[in-house]
Symmetry: C2
């Protein structure tokens, strides 16, 4: 955060409404004028009224959520009659115009740099914005929806591209993730049997739930695509007596996972392989992949399906857990450029490219969206509690960037913009799998 | 069945292998010769060897299942070394050639007419054929897979077309279905909590399971698409205290359902409407449709989705149960022409056309394939027990036709050629629905 940002942050934000007197909006005026023309106006001193009107339109384009916009000179703009959940404070004119022109990328960047702030609960603010945006989806008004189209063109996930993309996200270092993940270092949605379940328990419950959905039996073989820090592979070997080959291309995760396997005496049963999933070798009884498909990209699902087909034996079954969406679209460009290069949350239709060409049978799909929202709440709380250490290790920009990412993801799950699909599939005609799910819930 | 058929049926089938001496197959010969040319040969007396060789090729094209082919003169052809599960007996040469040239349609028609028979358990025979066919799927040999591509172009389901198509199947009369369905007259897959559950209990369990998956609350409103004989609508009103509007275009079913509603004093809470689902009016808390989507046709799923979107309120959720498949294809032409005009079992990808355009959120998909197989076993047993009455009311052809249809469906479910998808969906962001499934299984 720069000294100039701090100057803005100290400015008092006293009144809840426009401090400049409201003027009637000349509705017939703006639609015909380009942003460049409006920018030219600002050079001629007519900017104040124009910026206020644009702030109003920005809110209307978002479906008039009960949130305020506060400009650098203290003017406050609201559009809804409900009392505001929170306000966005623009610290300078340039930031306001940048967000107007390229909201997807610029809102996140400006928030990360401290050039804008959200006064109020960040998750609640984003939930409000997302809910209203979803309702006004087809309003056809000003395209800039300040915060997000949670969707955008992803980067190529070639063998080399995937490695770069994954390093960007995961090679921030194990310590960074240790500060805010659970004890087992599970970086995917947990399973909360009750609303008060703690995160560590919910992550262990998720690992067990996955094993039960796969009906793992002792001495079976499992291939895992995407190890994370090794939690699931080690859990399966320890609690279900299976042997596991787990593929990952993040060097720092692999090192951590191998050390854990050795420490727990499981290195003869669990092998962590630093390689791309497309290079997986062997035939297995089960395939599992948690929170990795998001990195694959829809263009590569057929390839993912071919790997799955090649790796599964005649009685094989699999479980893939992935963030997804109800309608296909693009990843938010800020998320795609700053947080998760190459990432894309698929629809179930898009995921069919994995299962349909090899003729797999879908057995069970569960949407655990609200479980991920709750997981993110825990992560965000822990992240905030560690923010001083994170800032010392990196900088304030990274703290704000990850705060927005975690809060935004949480809000997207609670408001239904993102889904969490857990898909169980098998070879067709695999009749030995239990016919009802009731045993899955016998212990809960 | 004609007297000439009976004559053939009396012919003894003594030996298990070719009674004519086997000759080496001149592999390089047939592929270049058209069926017409081969037919011409038969006129010159060279037919015996050719027909035997064609029977061998027929079996190889099916993946060499352990089944026999018995020709009208008693010659028996097998291809597999395993002991045969059953044999197909062709009663005459014309039937053999017809099945060779157009197996999809002609096998079913010849079986219905009694021009061919299956000696042995019909379901086991079909299961064996389907399993081997699935394995040899890409063998690229002789296209005729004697029994089925379980898939074919469906008839148009326009408003008028749908009515014709539905009348074909359901207006055989209520008595016909009463002979072999359960007491509640439920004509869709049941839910067997245990393998020994009886059909009546399993159908009631299914109705209850559907209500629980929809989380119905007293005084909510439900729209049903496809009433059948009214079992689900009446069950929901009686046991969950909801009011129901149920759409159906089968006149004989509607009459039956209305009488039941009156008899049970539920006619104030359940309205059976003789109209197409596309004409449904009103806003409801829930939408349900069991075993009706198969009649809609993939070309109309977007329309189905628009109707669903129009009918569901802001907290609306729905459940659609449909027969489906793992890979898209055509309906078997015999099923499509003789049993279910206009029918098509969709893939989950195809079903996305219902859910994705209105932005519905998929909450839960369960594949109940083996439950439908077990349901069909019960139906087939009951049908056989009533076959004398059915033959008296209609004729032997109808008995054989329905036997093949029920047995074929059963075999397709057990071998994984057909799926049964139960899909639960809701408006996006409907957060009041329970977050875990455990309560669904609390009573089992």
């Amino acid at each position: 955060m720069s000294p100039s940002d701090l100057r803005y942050a100290r400015r008092p934000l006293s009144d809840r409404h426009d401090s400049a007197p409201r003027q009637p909006v000349s509705g017939g005026d703006e639609p015909t004028r380009s942003p460049a023309a409006l920018l030219a106006d600002s050079r001629h001193g007519r900017v104040l009224g124009v910026e206020r009107r644009l702030a109003h339109r920005m809110l209307r384009a978002m479906g008039s959520p009960p949130v305020g916009i506060v400009l650098w000179d203290g003017r406050r703009i609201v559009e809804s009659n409900d009392s505001p959940v929170a306000s966005v404070l623009f610290h300078d004119r340039v930031t306001f115009w940048k967000v107007l022109l390229d909201p997807d990328l610029q809102f996140g960047d400006a928030y990360s740099d401290g050039r804008l702030e959200v006064n109020g609960d960040l998750v609640a603010f984003l939930e409000t914005v997302y809910r209203h945006r979803a309702r006004s989806r087809n309003s056809g008004s000003l395209a800039p929806s300040v915060v997000l189209r949670w969707l955008h063109r992803a980067r190529a996930n070639t063998l080399a591209g995937s490695r770069d993309n994954i390093e960007h996200h995961y090679d921030l270092g194990n310590d960074f993730y240790k500060w805010w993940l659970d004890d087992e270092m599970v970086y995917s949605g947990a399973y909360f049997a009750t609303p008060t379940t703690m995160l560590d328990d919910a992550q262990r419950a998720k690992l067990d739930y996955v094993c039960r959905k796969l009906w793992l039996k002792p001495d079976e073989t499992v291939v895992e695509i995407g190890s994370g820090w090794g939690a699931l592979a080690l859990f399966m070997a320890k609690n279900y007596g299976v042997t596991v080959k787990s593929y990952n291309i993040s060097k720092s995760q692999i090192e951590w996972a191998r050390r854990r396997a050795k420490d727990e005496g499981l290195d003869s049963r669990v092998e962590f392989i630093e390689d791309d999933y497309r290079n997986a070798i062997g035939r297995f009884d089960a395939l599992v992949s948690l929170g990795m498909l998001e990195h694959v990209g829809a263009a590569h699902y057929r390839e993912f399906g071919r790997t799955t087909d090649r790796c599964l034996g005649p009685n094989g079954r699999g479980l893939i857990q992935s963030i997804g969406q109800n309608q296909s679209g693009e990843t938010n460009s800020w998320i795609e450029r700053r947080i998760f290069p190459g990432a894309y949350p698929p629809t179930l239709r898009e995921m069919s490219d994995i299962f349909e060409p090899p003729g797999f049978s879908i057995l069970d799909i569960e949407n655990l969206r609200l479980h991920y929202a709750q997981t993110l709440r825990h992560w965000l709380d822990r992240f905030e509690a560690s923010s001083r250490q994170v800032a010392a290790m990196f900088d304030h920009q990274l703290v704000r960037m990850w705060r927005l990412y975690l809060a935004g993801s949480c809000a997207a799950f609670t408001t239904g913009g993102l889904q969490l699909f857990q898909v169980v599939f098998s070879r067709p005609g695999a009749n030995e799998i239990p016919r009802t799910r009731s045993k899955l819930y016998a212990t809960e």
